[in-house]
Amino acid sequence: MCSYIVEKAALVGSAKGRKGWMKIDTANVYFDHPYHSTLDHVLAIDFTNEGEGGRDRVAVELSADSARALVDRILAALASGEVAHATPAMPVAAE
């Protein structure tokens, strides 16, 4: 694309980067030429904390197909995980 088109997603979470763990509040998502990957275009995500200036980031560059597969796996993990964790804990059998 060769453009500055960026999708922003507000996040609640943490990420581990060069300086260790940090809170993150934003994902900048774009599909464009990469910096590191050899692919012509990548789905890139920069996880940042814009509330703290956004200077540090945790970055990924993914192929379009693998990015779509990741979206699918994220939704699958949420679906199964939320069901599992919403299930009342089974009573522990008496020893």
Binding site: M1, C2, S3, Y4, Y30, H33, D46, G54
Partner: protein
């Protein structure tokens, strides 16, 4: 004298837009003599390793070359250029006026060197190709410009114009004062083959001094040896076209060291 000769390469300070001091990657022949200068404009992802390779390649062929770091204002010395590029992208990119000021500053740096002939070329890749087209239309003192697959020279979607990029470069073509070489891959999506044709039509209509070369089997960034897009056969021929153009337009006193 050896067939292959040495070069100097370093990160140097330069004065960019508004006199701001930034850093640039510079390389030039180590031998005595006078050399034309070339400004290398990097692509959107940033001031990358491949850009420094291009600078050294130009030096190897007898030019003093410099690539200003267009994102230097965003960071502190020593910060990774890709991190600066990410922040610049999130902020909507750099303004055309600022880039033109930085290119003018890099040109002044080259002309101030004691071994300068005073002739100056500009070459840019991807967004840097677009910036090169803009520079050819808006900056004085450029003797030759090479646009390598610059996207958005023709702007079909008005939403892509904004305060930082207010004008489609194609609309400034009448003001172009230097010869232009264009290198394009026919499989590129930005610029498309149709957009390249429309750019050429405007250059032709206005009687500009230009030459375009289009390559089958190549898309965007096909010179870039660090990408899957690299097409060695087309890239070797393309570089030959680039050096032939610069040698003619800049009258390289130092003949090219190597053919490849």
């Amino acid at each position: 004298m050896s067939f292959y000769q040495g070069l100097h390469a370093d990160v140097v300070p330069f004065r960019g837009h508004n006199g701001d001091q930034g850093e640039a990657y510079y390389a030039g022949p180590a031998r005595a003599g006078k050399f034309p200068g070339i400004v290398v404009i990097h692509h959107i992802p940033g001031w990358c390793e491949w850009t420094t390779e291009v600078v050294r390649k130009l030096a190897h062929h007898g030019y003093a070359a410099i690539s200003p770091h267009l994102y230097f204002r965003e960071g502190n010395p020593g910060e990774a250029p890709d991190d600066l590029g990410a922040r610049i992208r999130a902020a909507g990119g750099v303004a055309d006026a600022q880039v033109m000021g930085d290119v003018a500053g890099a040109m002044a740096y080259l002309r101030a060197q004691p071994n300068a002939t005073g002739k100056i070329g500009v070459i840019g890749f991807c967004s840097g190709g677009r910036h090169t087209y803009l520079a050819a239309c808006t900056l004085s003192g450029i003797d030759a410009a090479v646009d390598c697959w610059g996207g958005n020279v023709v702007v079909d979607d008005p939403k892509l114009l904004n305060a930082k990029r207010p004008v489609a470069p194609i609309d400034l073509t009448e003001k172009m004062t230097c010869p232009l070489l264009g290198i394009f891959g026919n499989d590129d999506a930005n610029p498309t083959a149709d957009q390249v044709n429309r750019t050429e039509a405007v250059l032709k209509k206005l009687g500009k001094n230009y030459e375009f070369h289009r390559y089958d089997g190549a898309g965007h960034a096909f010179f870039n040896t660090l990408r899957d897009a690299y097409r060695p056969e087309q890239a070797i021929d393309g570089w030959r076209k680039v050096f032939d153009f610069f040698n003619r337009q800049l009258a390289a006193s130092a003949s090219s060291i190597a053919a490849e």
